[in-house]
């Protein structure tokens, strides 16, 4: 009866303004979408999370790597309602995984839907279960993933230079310094967070936030092999044992070829970082 009333309400609300009726269930939901988005990006997210973003220790990294290794074979999604599958969150059914779409809420009152972090944690649990790994071992990983991905700002942005893609990643992590990485096509990374912390003389970091990164190719090849200079400019705000401040920073790294027409890769020795701290030194 309730559904019938809802249907009538819907028709009375919208029938005059659209070509066809709004279909009950024809709707994008944040929870379902987040789980599907996490599914579509799982391998990349787990790799980024494991390499630096989520602050895992070595044991946790090893555990997460097991999940990352099997993430390519993620089962196909089948969304079911609680009526269809009971009160469990998911069920492994052969090649498929049934996901309880009525459980994709962070709170019982269903005011806050699953986000990306919740979706990733769900997939870690699904794959750990499938691989017969002890879910308890993943408790600390789940917490770190949730805390790291909850407030992410940008996952990755690309700069195509000479038909090769370089990218930076920026992750805003609750209770931890933001993570800013620059990555070449071979997954060599420059950890800008670490370099800037050292540059600022921080040994203990209370807060380190990056803003508006902009990755640009340098003013042209300077070497005989037409190397590229990649410059990442960004706003930065910090609070650490050596002081606090707000300014603009810059990280520069050279991408070199080992031979003519060879691929471009970072020269790790070329990294230069600087933050303007203003005032009179």
């Amino acid at each position: 009866m309730r559904q019938l009333i809802l249907g009538l309400l819907l028709l009375s609300c919208v029938s005059s303004v659209h070509a066809g009726p709004i279909i009950v269930g024809n709707g994008g939901g944040q929870g379902e979408y987040s789980v599907v988005f996490a599914h579509a990006n799982l391998k990349t997210i787990l790799r980024d999370c494991g390499s630096a973003a989520c602050g895992l220790d070595s044991r946790e990294q090893t555990l997460l790597k097991k999940i990352e290794d099997v993430a390519s074979g993620v089962p196909a999604i089948v969304m079911k309602t609680e009526k269809e599958m009971g009160s469990v969150r998911f069920l492994l059914q052969g090649k498929d995984v049934w996901i309880n779409q009525d459980h994709l809420w962070v709170d019982e009152k269903k005011t806050s839907a699953y986000g990306l972090a919740d979706g990733v944690v769900l997939w870690i649990e699904i794959l750990a279960t499938r691989e017969a790994l002890d879910p308890a071992e993943f408790a600390s990983i789940d917490l770190k993933v949730l805390s790291s991905l909850k407030n992410y700002v940008q996952r990755a942005q690309q700069l195509s230079t000479d038909f090769q893609s370089f990218e930076y990643l920026m992750w805003r992590r609750a209770g931890m310094p933001d993570l800013l990485l620059v990555r070449d096509p071979f997954f060599n990374e420059v950890d800008v967070t670490k370099a800037i912390s050292e540059h600022l003389g921080c040994t203990t970091v209370a807060a380190l936030k990056f803003f508006s990164p902009s990755l640009n190719p340098g003013p042209g090849g300077s070497g005989p092999l037409d190397d590229y200079l990649l410059t990442l400019d960004f706003g930065v705000r910090w609070d650490c044992d050596s002081g606090k401040g707000s300014s603009i920073g810059r990280a520069v790294v050279e991408a070199r070829r080992q031979k003519p027409d060879g691929p471009l890769a970072f020269d790790p020795k070329s990294v230069f970082v600087h933050v303007e701290t203003g005032g009179i030194h």
Binding site: G218, D233, H274, I280
Partner: protein, 606 residues
């Protein structure tokens, strides 16, 4: 300084493609997006361009999904969504409807009544899409994923257990994120200001983007036009664009009014194709982005970065720039200032200041000469063509420290009549005969306090008059104030008095904007002039600078322009008149309102 002035005199900045003051809300190609909230306006922008984004995904064999099931639907979707500049674009835009779940209980519930949807729609083409205004907090890319989800329902695909609409939305959103550049002004405590560009990777399709904050969202036009040709209009077509996110720095202060001008540097690379020869080449432009931030008064020169500003809407500009000076904020800014030292922190006007900097080049550039500029915080020479210095140091000496590091040292005598203020170096400029120009721009000024109890009061501009023209009431149906009408080619005179002991220089005098004929919109270009008529000889034909008792009288002879870059001129709008004096002082009056202080052509609709 000679170098800069010569550039400024010849530069006609015809390239600021978005000035919010110049883009009244309208449906179509370039517009201020509708909506009560920033989130709503940005969702409307996504919906406008979802076809471009899906087309980009559909065309790419490697950068978007390779799953055949998903690709098949993406191709169908690509055929369904009308292009943003097609005749159906208006109908498409009208499909979005924003309503509150709280005020419309049940509308966003699932069949079981459990889920609260973010958006809902019908299962037939061109069904309305209802957006839940109570759930618009998702990131931009997730909103896009859900809009794609809704559009797929229009093709008849339902929300079955396999969540095909979500899977396709996720793939398109993933593609969107990869090709997205975004920037905010969070380091200036203005995080809501968002600049977004998406590289469509489609031949002959410009990048798409917006600039957005709490009160306004403007759709950015990156296309080539007669006014701003990005490729040779006679022989080439645009093939691709690659645009960087702006990297923001302080351009200058207007401390007496609590204003900090920030400028975004970067690059706009345009790949042009000659269809006859098949040859490609890349035109490289600077990104020209500028925002004025309004801080609380009185302005606190030490703590402003911890305060929260508002945006001066009329100041916002974003576009590809043909002005060579904009490279100072982009590709030419390869020097970093490692250390700054002034030989005093407080000084009296009339004394000499010695400043020393340690700088590092990041690109193995070898400077031959240098130039240091000095400016105060109350009257920065901040013109729209971006020259940040008011005066240059009297000397500048370079000493090499190591392979890429240099010491820059210079002296400047502050004039005896200089206004008391905090002074700083906004720009260090380097030149090399073989390697071109480079520069360094500090973010945080290292101030020196100049005291001058006997300084004359600042000059003031008064008595701005326009002679020889009748008043104009309307332009394109919009009521005008302080405006006049002229026939194309008609001469008229503008005069103003600069009251003050300080004598005005013969530098530039005004910012003016040309509004050009374009059906349904005003396209604008900002044009800078000088006291002489070098930069705009057919329009500003003569300027008289006469020193009179108590000040300087400046009289300019104008001729109403007819055409600009082949496009009919609708009006000439004066945005600002400003004067620099010989002893580091400065006066200006601004007319920021769009339909104020215009000279409109008698040949266009009123």
């Amino acid at each position: 300084m000679k170098k800069f002035i010569s550039i400024a005199f010849v530069a006609l900045l015809g390239t600021i493609v978005v000035s919010t003051a110049a883009t009244p809300a309208q449906a179509g190609y370039r517009e201020g997006m509708k909506g009560a909230t920033q989130a709503e306006r940005e969702i409307r922008w996504l919906w406008k361009y979802v076809g471009e984004i899906v087309a980009s995904c559909a065309r790419s064999q490697t950068e978007c999904t390779t799953d055949p099931e998903i690709r098949d639907v993406v191709l169908k979707l690509n055929g369904y969504i009308p292009a943003f500049d097609s005749a159906q674009a208006g109908s498409w835009a009208d499909l979005l409807q924003f309503i509150s779940e709280k005020n419309n209980p049940g509308v966003f519930s699932s069949a079981s009544g459990e889920a609260h949807r973010v958006m809902v729609t019908g299962s037939t083409a061109m069904s309305k899409v209802l957006v839940n205004t109570d759930r618009m907090t998702m990131p931009l890319e997730d909103q896009l994923g859900l809009l794609v989800h809704e559009a797929i329902h229009h093709l008849g695909y339902g929300d079955d257990a396999t969540r095909l609409p979500d899977r396709i939305g996720a793939e398109v959103a993933k593609h969107f994120v990869k090709q997205l550049k975004r920037s905010s002004l969070e380091q200036f405590n203005a995080p809501e200001i968002q600049v977004v560009t998406f590289d469509t990777m489609l031949p002959n399709h410009p990048n798409i983007g917006f600039i957005s904050w709490g009160q306004w969202t403007s759709d950015v036009d990156w296309s080539s036009s007669a006014l701003q040709p990005l490729c040779d209009p006679n022989t080439e077509v645009m093939n691709r664009q690659e645009i960087s996110a702006p990297s923001w720095r302080v351009q200058g202060f207007k401390a007496d009014r609590g204003i900090v001008v920030v400028k975004g540097g970067g690059h706009v690379n345009v790949v042009c194709l000659n269809p006859r020869t098949g040859a490609f080449h890349t035109n490289r432009f600077a990104l020209g982005a500028s925002v004025e931030l309004q801080y609380p008064l009185p302005f606190d020169r030490e703590k402003w970065m911890d305060q929260t500003p508002t945006v001066r809407k009329e100041s916002v500009a974003l576009g590809a720039s043909m002005n060579p000076n904009d490279h100072l904020w982009g590709q030419a800014m390869t020097f970093t200032i490692l250390a700054t030292q002034h030989d005093k922190t407080t000084m009296k006007a009339g004394e000499t200041l010695r400043s020393t900097f340690r700088v590092r080049s990041i690109d193995n550039y070898r400077p031959e000469t240098c130039q240091l500029f000095v400016v105060g915080t109350q009257y920065s020479v901040i013109t729209q063509d971006t020259i940040p210095g008011v005066n240059s140091y009297d000397s500048c000496k370079l000493t090499k420290i190591s392979a890429n590091e240099w010491q820059v040292e210079g002296d400047v005598r502050i004039p005896t009549n200089a206004r008391p203020d905090k002074y700083y170096v906004p720009l260090i400029f380097f030149q090399s005969r073989s390697e071109g120009d480079r520069d360094a721009i500090p973010l945080l000024p290292a101030f020196v306090t100049v005291e001058n109890a006997g300084a004359p009061p600042p000059p003031v501009i008064r008595g701005l008059t326009v002679r020889g023209l009748p008043a104009a009431q309307k332009l394109d149906g919009n009521p005008l104030t302080n405006s006049y009408m002229a026939d194309p080619g008609q001469k008229f005179e503008v005069e103003f008095i600069v009251e003050g002991k300080q004598l005005a220089t013969t530098d530039r005098w005004f910012d003016a904007t040309l509004y050009l004929k374009r059906p349904g919109s005003l396209e604008s270009t900002v044009v800078h002039g000088s006291g002489s008529s070098i930069s705009w000889p057919t329009v500003l034909t003569n300027t008289d600078v006469i020193y009179v008792t108590g000040g300087t009288r400046i009289t300019m002879q104008w001729t109403m322009p007819t055409m600009f870059s082949g496009v009919e001129v609708m009006s000439l709008k004066f945005g600002r008149f400003y004067v620099r004096t010989f002893d580091y002082s400065w006066a200006e009056i601004e007319m920021p309102e769009i339909f104020d202080s215009m000279i409109v052509s008698s040949k266009v609709p009123h």
